[in-house]
C-alpha cells in the first residue's frame, strides 16, 4: 500500500480502513490512498476533525465508533484542480465508512477507477451525463431480444449491461461506445415518465451493470422506480421541473444527493432536486435484501 504524504504533514493515525481505500486521519490534513492497482490516482483530502484521531487497523472497530462528528471533504482531482466548491458532509463515521467503503471516494474524484463495486452506494456522483427526453420506455432501455439474459447470472449480468440503451433512436446518440461493455456516462438526465412500458427488471439492471449510477428525471413509471430501488442498481432522483432540454450529453455534472442538487459544470447551471428520501439507504446498501442484511435484519448471508 502506497502512502502519500501530503503537504509535509505527518500522517499518524488511521481512522479506519474501508474496502480498497485507506483513510488516514490526522490533525488537519489527511491522505487518501489507494491500493496499488490504482495507486496513481491518490487523492488529497482534508478532514476537519472535531475529536482526536483514533487508531485502528480494522474496519470493525471503526464501525463500532458511533461518535458523531462533522467531516467536510473538499474534493481535489487527480490533476490537482479543485473540482468544485461543494463539500460532502458526513454525520457519522459510519456514513463515511459506508460511502468510502463502496468506492465512494472515487466518485468524489470522478475519474478514479476503484476496485470492487464500481462507485456504488455513493450519494455524490460526478461524471458525464447522458441526456434523453420524455417517455423513455424499457424496450428502448433494453430491447426484448436481450431478455434471454438472466440478470442473476454474473456473466449474463455483465452482458446485459453492454446492451443498455441500445434500443434508443439514433437522435439520442450512443450510450455505450462501439465495442465497449461499459458506459462512460454515470448519470442519465431524462424527462417525464422515465422507464415506462414493460415491467422488465432487466432495465434498471442493464443500466446499473453498464456503470450508470443514477437517473435524474422529472417523473418515473412506477414499476421501473420500484425495480430500481429493490435491486439497488440506480438512484431514481426526481427534479423539480423540466431540465433535460438545458443539458447536453457529455456535460460534466455532479449529482449531490446530500444537498439535493445537480450541478452542470459545463453550463454552470445548478438544479434543485427532490430528496432521494427513504429510497436512499436501500440503494446505498445495494437493494432491498442487502439493506435488510446490512441493517442486521437478516442474519443469514446471501448464498
Amino acid at each position: 500500500m502506497k502512502h502519500k504524504r501530503s503537504w509535509g504533514v505527518r500522517t499518524f493515525a488511521v481512522a479506519f480502513r474501508a474496502r480498497g481505500i485507506l483513510f488516514a486521519e490526522c490533525g488537519a490534513r489527511v491522505a487518501i490512498v489507494a491500493l496499488p492497482a490504482m495507486a496513481a490516482a491518490a487523492l488529497q483530502v482534508r478532514l476537519v476533525p472535531a475529536t482526536a484521531a483514533t487508531t485502528s487497523s480494522s474496519s470493525s472497530s471503526c464501525s463500532n465508533r458511533a461518535s458523531s462528528r462533522s467531516v467536510s471533504v473538499p474534493c481535489i482531482r487527480r490533476d490537482g484542480a479543485s473540482v468544485f466548491g461543494s463539500v460532502a458532509r458526513f454525520e457519522t463515521r459510519q456514513e463515511v465508512r459506508r460511502v468510502v467503503s463502496r468506492g465512494g471516494v472515487r466518485a468524489l474524484a470522478g475519474e478514479v477507477q476503484a476496485e470492487g463495486k464500481d462507485g456504488r452506494g455513493c450519494r455524490v456522483i460526478h461524471g458525464r451525463c447522458f441526456v434523453v427526453g420524455d417517455n423513455i420506455d424499457t424496450d428502448q432501455i433494453i430491447p426484448a431480444e436481450y431478455l434471454t439474459l438472466v440478470p442473476s447470472k454474473p456473466e449474463e449480468y455483465e452482458k446485459l449491461g453492454s446492451y443498455a440503451m441500445i434500443g434508443l433512436p439514433e437522435e439520442w446518440g450512443k450510450f455505450i461506445e462501439e465495442g465497449k461493455m461499459k458506459t462512460e456516462y454515470k448519470v442519465i438526465i431524462g424527462g417525464d415518465n422515465f422507464g415506462c412500458g414493460s415491467s422488465r427488471e432487466h432495465a434498471p439492471v442493464a443500466l446499473g451493470a453498464a456503470g450508470c449510477r443514477a437517473v435524474v428525471a422529472e417523473t418515473y413509471a412506477r414499476i421501473f422506480f420500484r425495480n430500481s430501488v429493490a435491486t439497488g442498481e440506480l438512484y431514481p432522483v426526481e427534479t423539480l421541473g423540466k431540465i433535460w432540454e438545458e443539458n447536453h450529453t457529455g456535460d460534466i455534472v455532479t449529482l449531490d444527493m446530500e444537498k439535493d442538487v445537480l450541478v452542470n459544470h459545463t453550463t454552470g447551471k445548478t438544479y434543485n432536486l427532490k430528496p432521494i428520501g427513504e429510497a436512499g439507504p436501500v440503494i446505498d446498501a445495494g437493494g432491498i435484501f442487502s439493506y435488510a442484511r446490512s441493517t442486521g435484519m437478516i442474519a443469514s448471508p446471501a448464498q
Partner: protein, 564 residues
C-alpha cells in the same frame, strides 16, 4: 430470548423505526412516531419483510419529497398489522412464521371487510380487495400495507431471474411459500432456436420439479405445440382460461400486463424479479394503496366499436402517465354489457397509461365465465356508492369512433378514418391484448362480410392453445357456420401460428412475424414504442381487431365502417 433492538437513524425525519427480533411475538410499546416491528421467527424472510417497512416509503416519489412529510407521517403513523403465517417455511427452520408489526397496541380485527353490513368507511373496490388481503378493516390511498399474494405468475423471460434471486436470498434449498400458488407459464420466447431462450424454459422446468410446483404449463416439443398437452401460451390469457383469476384475490405477475386480470374484479399488477423473488419466499408484498380513477362508460356500443377502441380512447385522453400509481376502475352500462374478454382488453392496457391496476367489478358475467374453471370460493368487492375517487371520467360510447394509437406512443391517439392515407406493409393480430378468441372472431367477421382478400401479409397468432382450437372449431356468426380458420384462409391471411407472445415484443431474431425491416404495421398489440416489434424504425399503429382486418383489406389504415 431477549429482544434485540436496533434503531435506524433517519436523517430526513424525526420518526424512528425500531426493529426487534424475538422468538416470541412481542408487542413493544411504541411512542409517538415509532414503529415496532417484531418478528417471531428467525427466518430471513420474515426479517427481510420487516426490513422493507423502513424503506418502503421509497417506493413512491410522493413520500420521498421532504415537503410531504404528512404522507411520511401517515406511513409511520399508521398501524401496520400483519398477521400470520405462510405455511411453507423458509429453510432452515420449519415453523409457522408469525409476523406482526404494530404501531400502537393492536386492535382486534373483528370481521373481514366483505362481511360488514353497514359501511363504516367507504372504500373503492381496489381498497377493499387490498384491505381483505392485508386483513384490515379499512384502508385509505397512500397507506403501505403487507398484502398476501393469492397467485404469483412468472414466465420464461423473468422466471429464471426471479428463481435466481429466490435461491440467493432464501437459500439454495429453500422452499417456496406455497407450491399451489405459483403458476409458471412459458410463453414469451418459445418457438425459437435461440439457445438461451430454450435454456430458460429448462430452468423453469427444473425449478418446477424441485419445488413440486402444481401449475407448470410445460413445453418440450417445440416443433409441434399440439404435442404438448400442458402447454398453454400467453400467460395472461392462460391465467384466465385456466381459472387462476378470481374476484377479490391478489395476483402478482412478472409482466406488466398482469393488470389484465383486473377484469375479474381482483387486484392484479406487474412486478419485477426482485419483488417476485421476495414473494416466492414469503407469500407477501408491501404495497402502497393506490387512489382510484373511475371511468364510467355508458351507452350502447356501436357495432363497429370494440373494447380496444375504448381503452385507446382513454389512454389518448389521460396520456401514458395519466394513471401512474393509480387504479383504473371501469364501470357503466357499456362495461356491464361486455364479455369477459372485452373486459380483459380494457384492463390489459391499464399499464400503458401508467396504471397500477385495473378493475371491473365482478358480476353474473364473471360468475358464468368462471363456471367449470375454478371451484375455489371467491369474494366480490365493489366500490361503495360514496367512496372517493381521485377523478371520474365519463364517456358516452355511442358517440365514439374507431381509433388507433399512431407511432410511437400508445397515447398518440388518432381517428382511424383520419389515417386512411397511411400505407401499411403488414397486419398483426395477436398478443394478450388482441389475440383472444373474440378478437379473432371479430376480425373474421369483417373479412367474411367483405368477401375480399387481404392486400398485405396478415399474421395471426392465437394467444393460447385453446384460442387456436377455437379458430378451427367455433362458427363465426353470420357466415353460415364457417370457422375463423376457413375465413382467414379464404382471405389470404397467414396460417394461424403457434400460440405465444411472438412478435408483440420483437423477441429473438427468428421469432414469427418479427419486424426485421423498417415497415408500417397495424397491430392488435399493446405497445408501439420505437423498436417494440423488432426494428427501431418500424412504425406500429395499435388498433382493434376490426380496424386491423379492415386495414389488411385495403393496404392502408382503414376505419372498419368501410366494411361493417
Amino acid at each position: 430470548m431477549r429482544a434485540q433492538v436496533q434503531s435506524i437513524r433517519d436523517r430526513e425525519r424525526t420518526a424512528r423505526v425500531v426493529v426487534c427480533r424475538s422468538f416470541r411475538s412481542v408487542e413493544a410499546e411504541c411512542s409517538g412516531a415509532a414503529i415496532a416491528v417484531c418478528c417471531a421467527a428467525t427466518s430471513g424472510a420474515g426479517l427481510a419483510a420487516m426490513a422493507t417497512v423502513a424503506h418502503h416509503a421509497a417506493f413512491s416519489p410522493a413520500l420521498r419529497d421532504g415537503s410531504s412529510v404528512a404522507s411520511g407521517s401517515e406511513f409511520y403513523g399508521s398501524r401496520v398489522s400483519v398477521a400470520a403465517a405462510p405455511k411453507t417455511s423458509v429453510a432452515p427452520v420449519q415453523r409457522n412464521m408469525r409476523v406482526r408489526a404494530v404501531m400502537a397496541p393492536p386492535q382486534r380485527q373483528e370481521r373481514s371487510p366483505a362481511s360488514t353490513g353497514a359501511v363504516k368507511h367507504a372504500m373503492t373496490a381496489t381498497e377493499k380487495i387490498l384491505a381483505n388481503a392485508s386483513e384490515k378493516t379499512k384502508l385509505t390511498p397512500g397507506e403501505n400495507v403487507w398484502v398476501k399474494a393469492d397467485v404469483l405468475m412468472t414466465h420464461d423471460v423473468c422466471g429464471p431471474g426471479t428463481i435466481g434471486i429466490f435461491k440467493k436470498e432464501f437459500g439454495q434449498n429453500a422452499k417456496v411459500w406455497d407450491r399451489e400458488k405459483i403458476v409458471l407459464i412459458p410463453d414469451h420466447y418459445i418457438f425459437t432456436s435461440d439457445e438461451r431462450a430454450n435454456r430458460n424454459v429448462d430452468i423453469l422446468r427444473d425449478f418446477a420439479h424441485e419445488q413440486d410446483i402444481k401449475y407448470f404449463y410445460d413445453i418440450t416439443d417445440r416443433s409441434n405445440f399440439r404435442a404438448n398437452p400442458d402447454y398453454k401460451g400467453v400467460c395472461h390469457v392462460a391465467l384466465a382460461q385456466e381459472g387462476h383469476c378470481r374476484p377479490g384475490e391478489v395476483l402478482f405477475g412478472t409482466d406488466s400486463h398482469t393488470c389484465n386480470a383486473g377484469a375479474f374484479g381482483q387486484f392484479a399488477t406487474g412486478i419485477g424479479n426482485t419483488d417476485a423473488g421476495f414473494i416466492m419466499g414469503t407469500g407477501k408484498l408491501l404495497l402502497k394503496v393506490p387512489p382510484t380513477l373511475r371511468f364510467v362508460l355508458d351507452g350502447e356500443m356501436p357495432k363497429h366499436l370494440l373494447a380496444k377502441d375504448l381503452i385507446l380512447q382513454i389512454i389518448g385522453e389521460i396520456s401514458v402517465a395519466g394513471a401512474t400509481y393509480r387504479a383504473m376502475e371501469f364501470v357503466g352500462t357499456a362495461v356491464e354489457a361486455m364479455t369477459m374478454e372485452d373486459r380483459m382488453t380494457l384492463c390489459n392496457m391499464v399499464v400503458e397509461a401508467g396504471g397500477k391496476n385495473g378493475v371491473v367489478p365482478a358480476d353474473a358475467t364473471t360468475a358464468k365465465y368462471l363456471e367449470g374453471k375454478t371451484s375455489k370460493p371467491y369474494q366480490v368487492f365493489t366500490s361503495d356508492g360514496n367512496a372517493s375517487f381521485l377523478r371520474e371520467y365519463r364517456f358516452d360510447v355511442s358517440k365514439l369512433e374507431p381509433v388507433v394509437a399512431k407511432p410511437h406512443s400508445p397515447d398518440n391517439r388518432g381517428l382511424a378514418r383520419e389515417c386512411k392515407d397511411v400505407k401499411i406493409d403488414r397486419v398483426y393480430i395477436g398478443s394478450c391484448t388482441g389475440g383472444k378468441t373474440e378478437d379473432f372472431i371479430a376480425a373474421a367477421e369483417l373479412l367474411a362480410i367483405s368477401g375480399q382478400k387481404v392486400k398485405v401479409p396478415t399474421f395471426l397468432v392465437p394467444a393460447t392453445q385453446k384460442v387456436w382450437m377455437d379458430l378451427y372449431s367455433l362458427p363465426v356468426p353470420g357466415t353460415d357456420g364457417k370457422t375463423c380458420a376457413e375465413i382467414f384462409e379464404q382471405a389470404g391471411c397467414d396460417t394461424p401460428a403457434s400460440p405465444s407472445c411472438a412478435a408483440c415484443l420483437g423477441g429473438p431474431r427468428d421469432t414469427y412475424a418479427r419486424m426485421n425491416d423498417p415497415q408500417v404495421c397495424v397491430s392488435t398489440t399493446n405497445r408501439n414504442f420505437p423498436g417494440r416489434m423488432g426494428h427501431k424504425e418500424g412504425q406500429i399503429y395499435l388498433a382493434s381487431p376490426y380496424t386491423a382486418a379492415a386495414s389488411a383489406l385495403t393496404g392502408f389504415v382503414t376505419d372498419p365502417r368501410e366494411f361493417l
